[in-house]
């Protein structure tokens, strides 16, 4: 079954299949096997996988060979009459011992590779990875850089009103950027439920668990974009929290770090001035679409009871609930998927999104929340 035949088959009737022709793989996989990946470890894991695969194939050939020989050679319809043996100690010892030996042969290299994978010492860069419903948060511990990484695929592609792009569901708004040739240690945790950070090309899959900090590491040799996604069921957005790792040269990495710091400074400066309603609504809509719409829905109707509605009812139309509204967006609501956005979004984004929620979808309260108010709330804590 080649990709092309299927595409040709589908092209006549269903346009989506044509897209598979140009679709770039999300990893270095051939499309039907594990990718060899781009790190020393990932290549070792791939080698282990292939070795064990071929051993299993050899076992299957021998076992099924004898089985099918027996089925063909000893058919009653060909006049076979049954022998009477029903045990043989030597043979039974042999087929207990031989698998033992094969298993030991598999276990030796597996143990060696696993030890290397567990050695997280002497890392050059530490990144704290936090799983949220449904996005990843990255914090560069030595460099004071932190940001969210959200699914970038537009909803129109998911719901079929727009053609699907090459990186459908495996593209993000802001990738994790790492330098090549340096040992990156990931510290993984989660804010709500268990997630799992998986990039096949790096042979890294580690659970991000609330209340725990797990460790793993990788070191990429070649610049490139390596994609993966959450591997542990984490609720309705599980398929929509992809991972993108961009490996760049150490020089480009330094430039990227500077640009992130500059952007953060500019964002902080913006919090000082007075924002107009239009500015707030524009920024608010963008923020809402990225961070809020997955649960509260683009039309603000939510999916009750898990995700409450914001349009026409609840906290965003209650004039007395403005302070609560701010607090929930800043600090989250424990025991629900509502994350504490004050930790990762800027005061401007938070002010804008609250303003948007109180004025969009006919809520029309006319209330404006200024970034400075949010800033002072954060500072007074």
């Amino acid at each position: 079954m080649s990709r092309l035949t299927w595409a040709a088959l589908g092209a006549a009737s269903q346009p989506f299949l044509a897209a598979t022709v140009q679709a770039s793989s999300i990893n270095t996989s051939s499309g039907w096997n594990m990718p060899a990946g781009v790190t020393e470890i990932s290549r070792e894991v791939f080698g282990l996988h292939m070795t064990i695969f071929w051993i299993c194939v050899a076992i299957a050939v021998v076992v099924f060979g004898v089985m099918f020989y027996s089925l063909i050679a000893y058919r009653k319809s060909k006049g076979a009459s049954a022998a009477h043996f029903h045990e043989n100690t030597a043979v039974e010892i042999l087929w207990t011992a031989v698998p033992m030996v094969i298993l030991v042969l598999m276990a030796v290299p597996a143990t060696a590779t696993l030890k290397k994978m567990y050695d997280t010492s002497q890392a050059d860069i530490d990144i704290l990875v936090t799983g949220y419903q449904w996005r990843w948060g990255y914090e560069y511990l030595e460099n004071d850089v932190e940001f969210f990484s959200n699914l970038a695929t537009p909803r129109e592609q998911i719901h079929g009103s727009q053609a699907k792009g090459d990186n459908y569901l495996v593209e993000v708004d802001e990738a994790m950027v790492v330098p090549t040739g340096q040992k990156i240690r990931l510290l993984l945790t989660a804010n709500d439920v268990i997630h799992s950070w998986w990039v096949p090309d790096l042979a890294v899959k580690k659970d991000a668990i609330p209340g725990f900090v797990n460790e793993t590491w990788f070191e990429v040799d070649e610049p490139g974009v390596y994609r993966g996604q959450c591997a542990e069921l984490c609720g309705s957005g599980h398929a929509m929290m992809p991972i993108e790792v961009r490996a760049v040269t150490p020089e480009d990495y330094a430039v990227w770090l500077d640009s992130k710091r500059d952007a953060a400074a500019a964002e902080a400066a913006g919090a000082g001035r007075e924002w107009s309603m239009d500015e707030l609504m524009e920024r608010g809509e963008a923020t809402y679409t990225t961070y809020c719409a997955a649960c509260h829905q683009p039309d603000g109707k939510g999916v009750p009871p898990a995700f409450p509605a914001l349009a026409g009812e609840g906290i965003s139309v209650d004039p007395d609930a403005l302070e609560d509204h701010k607090k929930i967006v800043l600090h989250g609501k424990s025991g629900t998927a509502m994350a504490a956005f004050g930790e990762n979004l800027s005061p401007s984004e938070i002010a804008a999104v609250i303003t948007y929620e109180r004025n969009a979808w006919g809520n029309d309260s006319g209330e404006r929340v200024q970034p400075a108010e949010i800033q002072s709330m954060l500072e007074s804590e």
Partner: protein, 549 residues
């Protein structure tokens, strides 16, 4: 003391049977009520089997909803919230509602008839065990219509997704798991009591059929691990309703504890679903190879070894949670070790075939299909044991392919093999060979078309439990969906076969329905009368034991 009690049990149950016999036509409820109050092992066995068949179609329909959504990339038919409810319910219903009750049904029908007992040792308990199940699954299915929907956290229901973040219906889900668990424990107690106390005089443990042996070991596994499941869902109930924090990190609890407890139940559970299948195949292969089972004693020891090892491997489901290196190595080695007794079983079946006189009736086809495809699932299991590689396989479609190979062409094919094998004994008529062969071959094609491509999509990087996927996985998913529909609809042929046999169309069966078959069940008429072995049948270990020399 213990044997005194068991003697008393025998007395009671045989006298009950005697009374029942005398009053056969005049007394006793009729119609529906007869099935509600029955304490007869054959009737209860039929109830279990019909219930599990119904659940197979309910759980199967949910699988087809899943495969429909996954036919193409994008969200076309259902939303992710409902998709997650379907994957969860599909797993729960198939494991607890279809596979397990089917084996209990077979045990009810066949264990008393294979050991020469008049009935199960605890007939009223038997009735209660069964009737808990429709209640349990009625509750479980009703959650789909509750506010917030049914369970949506996967059949493994990892906390805190299943506690703090779960839909309001979760307490009903916990209730249904409790009821199904009680049913299993009571059923297991009954099976152990029956096997230990009601064997016909002269039949030693090593004279029992392998189906009885595998069920005896399975019953001990059930009693050992079902209480752990009950404990873990009770802890969830407390977290949800009474403010405890067993699994809530914010309250000082430990989400990973949930996984340790769940898999301490869950891994033996996997063998609960496969050991009786080993027993069935160990009867059918010798019957149609017309040659005694090779290595009876080693089969018994291998079954026991697998059962013991099943308590030492649970964390191989958790290689990515961050277990220390030494722990990872321990669970890798212990998991690999299971391949040895499992291999012994496969080699024994093949040695039984070797130099036999083989014919290919439908039960044999399903048993041979079992051996081939279970072996494929077993080999991918060895791959999954290798921790560094498992980091890449874990929670992908490779795992989905692996466990469906051991559960569908594994456990389910063995159940189908058993149904075709014993249908003449149950109904008095052979299952239609023609329809049975259609059922088998369409199932083989369907099952492989569904699950073989999943190995590839998983290796290429597709995580499990996602309602939508990257475009590179489109081709394999389309194949899997086509295969899923073929497999699902093929099972309707089985319903037709069953109805035909029950209605009595087809070839009438003799008492000894298969020429190569061994065992006491073939000494009673076909169909088996309501009461068999009112007096214990004679049994000579020297000529009748499967372990004779």
């Amino acid at each position: 003391m213990a044997s005194d009690t068991s003697q008393a049990t025998v007395q009671v149950s045989t006298s009950a049977v005697a009374q029942g016999d005398g009053a056969h036509d005049s007394h006793g409820p009729t119609g529906i009520l007869r099935w509600v109050v029955t304490t007869n092992h054959k009737e209860i066995g039929s109830l279990y089997l019909l219930f599990s068949l119904a659940m197979l179609f309910v759980g199967g329909s949910m699988a087809l909803v899943i495969r429909t959504e996954l036919f193409q990339p994008g969200l076309q038919f259902i939303q992710p919230e409902f998709f997650n409810q379907m994957t969860t319910m599909h797993g729960l219903i198939m494991v607890f509602g279809a596979i397990m009750p089917a084996f209990v049904g077979l045990a009810n029908w066949m264990i008393p008839m294979q050991i020469g007992a008049p009935d199960m040792a605890l007939p009223r308990l038997n009735n209660f065990s069964f009737w808990l199940l429709p209640v349990a699954f009625g509750i479980l299915l009703s959650t789909l219509f509750m506010e917030g929907g049914g369970p949506n956290f996967g059949w493994t229901f990892y906390a805190p997704l299943s506690t703090t973040y779960a839909p309001p219906s979760t307490s009903f889900f916990i209730m249904s798991i409790h009821l199904a668990g009680i049913s299993s424990i009571l059923g297991a107690i009954n099976i152990i009591a029956t096997i230990f106390n009601l064997r016909t005089p002269g039949m030693r443990l090593m004279d029992m059929s392998l189906f009885v042996w595998t069920w005896l070991i399975t019953a001990f596994l059930l009693i050992a691990v079902m209480p752990v499941l009950a404990g873990v869902v009770t802890m969830m109930l407390m977290d949800i309703n009474f403010g405890t924090s067993f699994f809530n990190a914010a309250g000082g609890g430990d989400p990973v504890l949930f996984q340790h407890l769940f898999w301490f139940f869950g891994h033996p559970e996997v063998y609960i679903m496969i050991l009786p299948a080993f027993g069935i195949v160990s009867l059918i292969v010798p019957t149609f190879a017309r040659k005694r089972l090779f290595g009876y004693a080693s089969m018994v020891y291998a079954t026991a070894a697998i059962a013991l090892l099943s308590f030492l491997v649970w964390a191989h489901h958790m290689f990515t949670v961050g277990i220390p290196l030494v722990g990872e190595l321990f669970f890798m080695y212990s998991t690999m070790l299971i391949a040895v007794p499992t291999g012994v079983k496969i080699f024994n079946w093949i040695a039984t075939l070797f130099r036999g006189s083989i014919s290919f009736e439908v039960p044999m086809l399903f048993a041979l299909g079992f051996i081939v495809m279970f072996t494929i699932g077993g080999l991918s299991g060895v791959m999954l044991a290798i921790v560094p590689a498992d980091f890449q396989y874990h929670d992908t479609y490779f795992v989905v392919a692996h466990f469906h190979y051991v559960l569908v062409p594994g456990a389910l094919f063995a159940i189908m093999a058993a149904a075709y094998y014993w249908m003449p004994k149950w109904t008095g008529y052979y299952a239609s060979e023609t329809l049975g062969k259609w059922h088998f071959w369409l199932s083989v094609i369907g099952v492989n078309l569904t699950f073989f491509p999943m190995h590839f999509s998983g290796l290429a990087g597709m995580p499990r439990r996602i309602p939508d996927y990257a475009l590179q996985f489109a081709d394999f998913n389309m194949l899997s969906s086509i295969g899923g529909f073929l497999f699902g609809f093929s099972q309707l042929i089985f319903v037709w076969v069953l109805i035909k046999a029950i209605r009595g169309s087809g070839e009438k069966a003799h008492a000894h329905a298969w020429e190569g078959a061994d065992g006491l069940e073939w000494t009673v008429p076909s169909p088996a009368p309501l009461h068999t072995f009112d007096t214990p049948p004679p049994f000579d270990p020297l000529t009748e034991s499967p372990s004779r020399h």
